[in-house]
């Protein structure tokens, strides 16, 4: 394993960088989209609630790989050309946003309804109360599950390997086939994944315990 790091260190680090980059981009966008759909689902409008529900159920119940392949195979044919990294990141964003929407919605629901009523009684509009009173309190509950979503995101970013996204998993395959030491190559890749995911998931478990 050590000589895999010595011989292919640069390749592995590049893959790690791509994995992190794609995970961060997907996290930021899925946080925005997910929060938006959570708000729509909690909104007073019935149409908005149904649309949000449809979006969430759609992307929650289709495998990530199918979504990613759709952007990689179908989009270039009919809409716009995109490389594997872009297709993979879009797929990850859509897939994760549906899980984040559920998480944020649970957070909003865990905030005492009296908070909303109180702010409405004090003259704030619905959206002002949501923005300044409810959401800040909701996000406190939501941080541990969001951290776990980020861990999932990093793990799921390995689907980029299917579409030539040059991520860690992809580089692992390249190294496995060129060095012919499959076990050592995959073990090295595994160690790099664990360096990212283990600390986050331990920290989130600690936060969960402290919040409970």
């Amino acid at each position: 394993m050590i000589h895999i790091f010595q011989a292919y260190g640069g390749t592995l680090l590049y893959g790690l960088g791509q994995t992190l980059l794609c995970s961060f981009i997907a996290l930021v966008f899925s946080l925005i989209i997910g929060t938006l759909f959570a708000l729509l689902e909690e909104s007073p409008s019935k149409v908005a609630r149904h649309c949000a529900r449809a979006y969430i159920e759609l992307f929650r119940n289709i495998p990530l790989l199918v979504i990613t392949m759709f952007f990689y195979v179908v989009f270039p044919l009919y809409v716009v050309k995109m490389n594997g990294f872009t297709a993979g990141t879009i797929g990850l964003t859509l897939y994760t946003s549906s899980f984040i929407a559920e998480t944020v919605r649970a957070g909003i629901q865990s905030v005492d309804p009296g908070q909303m009523e109180g702010s409405r009684a004090n003259g704030l509009t619905y959206w002002q109360a949501m923005r300044y009173i409810v959401l800040p309190q909701a996000f406190r509950y939501v941080i541990p599950p969001l951290g776990n979503q980020f861990v999932n995101l990093v793990k799921n970013s390995s689907t980029l390997a299917f579409v030539g996204g040059f991520d860690l998993m992809y580089q692992g395959n390249v190294i496995a086939s060129s060095s012919l030491q499959t076990m050592a190559a995959y073990a090295s890749v595994g160690v790099l994944y664990l360096i990212i995911t283990m600390p986050i998931s331990y920290y989130m478990r600690y936060l969960e315990k402290r919040l409970a």
Binding site: E57, L58, R60, N61, I62, P63, L64, L65, V66, M69, F70, V73, V74, L77, Y78, V151, K155, N156, S157, S158, T159, A161, F162, M169, G172, N173, A176, Q181, T182, M183, Y186, V189, G190, Y193, L194, T197, M198, S201, Y202
Partner: protein
């Protein structure tokens, strides 16, 4: 466009796709049963805190849980031959899924046991049962009921994750759809619609089941 759909959904192609659905379900069901058994044992070991053993089991669970499933698939299919074992495609897929899901279920089992009121165990002990009798006859049955919705949700992600096994050429839906649209590029959209719909229906029904079970408990 419509003609493409009609041509793509010929009886032969549909039969081929549904065969893929069968393989998806076969692999998922065998894996979930295997991982329920292994996961329960590991979850109990982690819960009861046997010196050293529980810590080691806990560490292994955390390591595997934090790895991508895809990597475990590569391990079982491309890595094991390096050690002299060469599994076939379907067993390799089942093995990888079982290893990964066992760890997920171990965590579910552990939190299920923790959710049972400690008074149950105290009551059992006070009535003369040993610790293991109390665990087996009193605590575990109650924990199991609490775990069922989480296990169903885990099964949903398992069904979705079997699509990853296309990379080791497991002939499930996604893989078969690629073969069909590989012959005629006009079939690309119909094929994506078909498999997305099939996955959606299976997973959505399961998620309805999970939320129904959850509501009935509350």
């Amino acid at each position: 466009m419509l003609q493409n759909f009609i041509d793509a959904y010929s009886p032969d192609n549909l039969r081929y796709l549904f065969g893929g659905l069968g393989i998806t379900i076969l692999v998922s069901v065998i894996s979930i049963i295997g991982s329920f058994i292994i996961g329960s044992v590991l979850g109990v070991i982690r819960y009861v805190k046997i010196k050293y053993v529980s810590a080691i089991v806990g560490f292994i669970i955390d390591v595997i849980r934090n790895l991508p499933l895809l990597l475990i698939l590569f391990f079982t299919y491309f890595g094991l031959p390096n050690l002299g074992v060469k599994p076939e495609i379907i067993p390799a897929a089942i093995l990888a899924m079982t290893i990964f899901e066992s760890m997920m279920l171990a965590e579910i089992v552990r939190s299920g046991i923790q959710a049972v009121d400690p008074g149950q165990m105290e009551g059992a002990r006070a009535n003369g049962l040993t610790y293991w009798q109390g665990l087996w006859h009193i605590v575990l049955p109650q924990a199991l009921v609490k775990m069922i919705p989480a296990i169903v949700s885990q099964f949903i992600s398992l069904v979705k994750d079997t699509s990853l096994a296309t990379i080791i050429l497991l002939p499930e839906m996604l893989f078969r759809s690629q073969i069909i649209y590989g012959q005629n590029t006009n079939y690309i959209i119909p094929m994506f619609v078909a498999i997305a719909l099939m996955y959606f229906i299976v997973c959505y029904l399961l998620s309805l089941l999970a939320s129904y079970l959850e509501k009935r408990q509350a």
